[in-house]
């Protein structure tokens, strides 16, 4: 009697376990974000920060400085155009602001159309690169661009500038 009960328990246990393995419907993740398209538009600079990367790495005090108010950075306006899912032209209007990018206008490309990290600006033979510090998607309406400066002889990262923009 005992062995019959044991034998009956095994398939019953297997049924209970396997019943939990039935496929579930995949939850809807929402509309896929188009990061490239989120860059499209006219952006005005709101904040500029300078970081002494070497000091930050060593844990020194005085490793970061908000430079927004030191010069008229908030004059700077940056326009990025996207058409048919691809970057096309850009323009920068510095006003009295220091130069954030070296070029005034031209074309731009990215390293990855789906998840862009670097923005490559080109005007004739001249070129400049800025990296994206944050996409203006979801709760964030801020475009964050970052420019890094490295020692020309060693390649060591020495200074970085972070710029925050809001859409016009």
């Amino acid at each position: 009697m005992k062995s019959i009960f044991k034998i009956a328990t095994i398939p019953l246990f297997a049924i209970i376990v396997l019943a939990g393995c039935k496929p579930e419907s995949i939850r809807d993740l929402g509309i896929q974000r188009d990061y490239l398209e989120s860059l499209n538009g006219t952006w005005k600079l709101t904040k500029a920060t300078q970081v002494d990367e070497d000091a930050a790495k060593k844990g020194f005090p005085f490793s970061q400085l908000d430079i927004t108010g030191l010069f008229p950075y908030t004059d700077f306006v940056f326009k990025l155009d996207v058409s048919a899912g691809a970057p096309t032209t850009f323009s920068s209007t510095p006003g009295a602001s220091p130069k954030i990018v070296k070029l005034v206008s031209g074309t731009w490309t990215v390293d990855n159309l789906q998840y862009p990290k670097n923005i490559y600006l080109k005007s004739g033979l001249a070129a400049d690169t800025v990296s994206l510090g944050g996409y203006p998607v979801g709760a964030s309406a801020t475009l964050q661009l970052k420019k890094e400066k490295k020692d020309a002889s060693t390649g060591k990262l020495l200074i970085s500038y972070s710029y925050e923009f809001t859409k016009q």
Binding site: Q50, K58, D151, T154, K156, I159
Partner: protein
């Protein structure tokens, strides 16, 4: 033909730019890093000499200086101080600060050197000061932020009165800072410029400028370094304001990409 001319002009304009002399590899280094000096003695008292010896010393103009352990005596340099020839009038020498001076990284701020004949009968002028990157943060009266800057960076100079040791520096009320710019030939670029300071802390005054936005070098030249000082007022025995300035602090630009 015109294109060929432009190409030749482009190529030779590259040669026309004078390289920094002496130069170091790597360009920035701590007292614990091995660094190679590259030097061209053309136009000095050592021009044409085939055997050159290094005479090196730490912290020139500061307290706590020491001679290099390889120096030997002035009239009989140590063979360990002999530089490696690197072409006519050119030499290299490799050293590590802590080993060379027998001092700790905290003690080593800068160094200077000259090249000489073994018997001291000929020499170059002093090359100094060249600063070691600090391994620990050492507060000081004057400080530039970021610690390394290029010509197009936002450069902030800071005066921290808490670390002043000269009476006028301790007493003065800072108002402005003055920058004198130099090109790669050592010539001053334009006139010195003064800007106002703002108080950013109980004892700290700061001011900022962008070198290439305020100073334009002559054609074919480039900005190489600058000196800055802080100006302010103290009251004399009659209670009248007198303008005083700190000593100059020199900063050489770091080439960045």
């Amino acid at each position: 033909m015109k294109q060929l001319l432009y190409l030749l002009l482009f190529i030779f304009s590259g040669f026309a730019v004078k390289a920094q002399n002496p130069s170091f590899s790597p360009s920035s280094f701590t007292a614990e890093d091995e660094v190679t000096i590259y030097i061209d003695v053309t136009g000095t008292g050592m021009a044409g000499v085939t055997d050159a010896y290094l005479w090196i010393f730490s912290n020139p103009g500061l307290s706590g200086g020491a001679d290099g352990v390889t120096n030997g005596s002035w009239t009989n340099s140590n063979e360990a101080a002999k530089l490696t020839p690197n072409g006519p009038n050119k030499f290299t020498y490799k050293f590590t600060g802590t080993t060379m001076f027998g001092q700790t990284p905290a003690q080593l701020k800068s160094f200077g050197f000259l090249l000489k004949k073994k018997d001291g009968s000929a020499q170059t002028a002093d090359y100094k000061p060249y600063f070691f990157d600090p391994l620990i943060f050492v507060p000081s009266m004057t400080r530039v932020f970021p610690s390394k800057v290029d010509k197009d960076d936002v450069v902030s100079v800071n005066f921290d009165q808490a670390y002043a040791v000269v009476p006028n520096d301790q007493r003065m009320t800072p108002t402005t800072f003055t920058v004198t710019m130099y090109d790669d030939m050592g010539n001053t670029v334009g006139s010195a410029i003064s800007w106002p300071l703002s108080k950013t802390n109980a004892t700290i005054w700061s001011g900022s400028f962008i070198p290439d936005a305020s100073f334009t070098p002559a054609a074919g030249r480039k900005l190489m370094k600058f000196k800055y000082k802080f100006n302010g007022t103290v009251l004399d025995v009659n209670g009248l304001p007198v303008t005083v300035s700190t000593a100059d602090t020199e900063v050489t630009f770091t080439s960045m990409l």
